[in-house]
């Protein structure tokens, strides 16, 4: 009896450390090992604004948790500096390059070069003409269709509006503008004369330029009913022009963007924007975090050969549909992760 007790006790004691150890479910250790020590490079248009700061939050958390190295290169809105940084990254041979291209064509060849060098490439938000392994971002065409439909709903002649709308593009070589304007024109044509575009200008993503142009457009078209903008950070300039003209009740501004509270929900609340189409950058941050995990565990055999599209579900926000979860704030995202 005593011997039995000793054996049991001894067995228990030796088993004790094993109990504290995490059980192997057949994947957990293997996947963690696949992430450890890898390198991930992040090359946005620029750091320091809501979208790019949001996207990187998930990667930062994961780099810490799983022990991969995260390199961030900030070309600060310069296409040249971005291309240089990209070329440099290809030399450094990270496992994954996450890139946010400033223009459709700018990085086309560099993406191919990276793929030839065996590096997996993930493109975020702005679709490049060359396909990478993954694309995470909105379908800009669908996005602009949603915006235009929303403005037709408010301004179409059949709905009692004047049927006159204006469009403010950003940078013309950017997919938001390039595919967006085609979508707007096609949707307007489809409306069969219910709506017409009286002004189509570009403001280079600059709120002050947008303000100047919108001021003139509002003067030139006293019966303007709607304005379609292409990015919240620029569209606040249009909103200021509408406010100054005292036309907040008559001119409906339809904007779009990543759904940051300061830029999106705050502007719906104060009446600057009538409708806002959000591509929820916080959700994209989560997508990006997971895609990078996936690529690190299962690196493409031939980078770029089988591009995967993860088009972000779009969310339409207006005063009626806005709820506490419609927007996100960078502070909480940075503190708690996506």
């Amino acid at each position: 009896m005593r011997k039995l007790l000793t054996t049991v006790l001894a067995g228990f004691l030796t088993a004790a450390p094993a109990l504290a150890e995490k059980p192997d479910d057949g994947l957990v250790f293997e996947s963690a090992a696949a992430l450890k020590g890898k390198t991930v490079a992040y090359l946005p248009i620029a750091m320091g604004f809501d979208l790019t700061e949001a996207w990187v939050t998930g990667l930062k958390k994961d780099a810490e948790t799983w022990g991969y190295e995260l390199t961030i290169r900030d070309p600060n809105w310069s296409v040249d500096a971005g291309a240089q940084a990209f070329a440099q990254l290809i030399q450094e041979q990270p496992d994954v390059i996450v890139v946010h291209p400033p223009e459709i064509q700018a990085y086309a060849r560099l993406i191919q070069q990276a793929e030839r060098a065996g590096i997996a490439v993930v493109v975020v938000s702005l679709k490049a003409s060359t396909n990478a392994d993954y694309f995470i971002g909105p379908d800009w065409y669908d996005m602009a269709v949603a915006q235009t439909k929303s403005v037709i709903e408010m301004c179409g002649k059949s709905k009692g509006g004047s049927g006159k709308i204006a469009v403010m593009q950003g940078v013309l070589t950017n997919p938001t503008s390039q595919y967006g304007i085609q979508a707007i024109e096609a949707t307007v044509a489809e409306s069969g004369g219910d709506i017409e575009i009286v002004s189509n200008q570009a403001a280079d993503w600059d709120a002050s330029k947008a303000h100047a142009i919108a001021t003139t457009v509002l003067q030139a078209n006293p019966d303007l009913c709607g304005y379609v903008g292409m990015w919240d950070n620029m569209d606040v300039g249009i909103a200021a022009a509408i406010r100054e003209a005292g036309k907040q009740d008559t001119v409906k501004l339809v904007s779009s963007g990543g759904g940051n509270r300061d830029s999106a929900c705050a502007n719906i609340e104060n009446g600057n924007f009538a409708t806002y189409i959000s591509y929820d950058a916080a959700a994209q941050a989560r997508d990006l975090m997971m895609v990078v995990r996936s690529v690190l565990q299962n690196p493409p055999e031939e980078p770029g050969a089988h591009p995967v599209a993860l088009y972000t579900p779009l969310r339409s926000i207006d005063k009626a549909t806005m709820h506490s979860g419609s927007c996100w704030s960078l502070d909480t995202l940075q503190a708690y992760g996506p």
Binding site: G48, D206, A212, T216, N233, A240
Partner: protein
Amino acid sequence: MMATRTRSPLSQEMIVAAIAALLFMAFFLTQPVFRTTDNLLSLLQNVSILGILGLGMALSIIGRGIDLSIVTVMAMSSAWVLQLANSGLPLGLALLAGLLLSIAVGLVNGALIAFLEVPAIFATLAVATLNYGVVRTALLDDNLVYLKAEVPGWFHAIGGGALFGIPNPVLLFALVCLLLHLFLRYDIAGRFLYAMGENPAAARITGIANRPLTLLQYAICSVIGFGAGMILASTIGSVETRIARSTMVYDVILVAVIGGIGLSGGKGGVRNVIIGTALIGVLLNGMTILNTPYTVQNIIKSVILMLAIVADSILNPRDEQTSQQGDI
């Protein structure tokens, strides 16, 4: 002490004024929308920030220098003011901090140029980058700063309000024009600035304190930049610091130079900036009303500006007498 001017039947200033007037008449006669009072006011409002910056640039060029940091000062100091206000500092104090920051940047510019004798173009270029970098990393959380704090109504009125139907930015542009005109025309420092711009060595021999004058010159430039930044910030309710790295400073130089302020210094005045600003304003406004595509606008703008410069070099050819050392 009068600035010497090349007396020719048509100066560049007059050519540009004529082109602006021609364009104005063309739009006036063909576009009913253009000739409304409201549109003409918005035309002025849209170029008033550019005009104010142009005045600062003119000041630096008249003193035989150039201030490439003016747009950076505009963006960074106004962004800092918004951030300070957001963090709970009373608006008055935030404004004072922004003003002091801009003066400091101006004094650094001036000191580099006056005491270390670094050419203005390099000194201000370096300071622009330094100012952007330091303020962005040490003082700002974000590239884009929204005004989130509750501020008194007068602040929004700076850029967004109007007096007697005239938008405040236009009135402020007029005010800066007047102040700078009085300074350049009637203040001793202003007169000395022309002397220094015309011939620094001669100015020095006659006893003008070139170095303190240079400090003053760049400090004023920076303060003008700060003022423009606050108008912009209060109009839109946010500051995008990316503008500091944009090509806007070339537009600002253009407004000053196209109006006839010689890059060699000592020439021109407030009137030249007004004419340059008017040309750009009429062009932009008219083309927006005509809904000219963006790319075409750029072509038209550059062709007209080139015409003005070509016309000037045909009518007022450079020769040994009219060209000066230091002319770019």
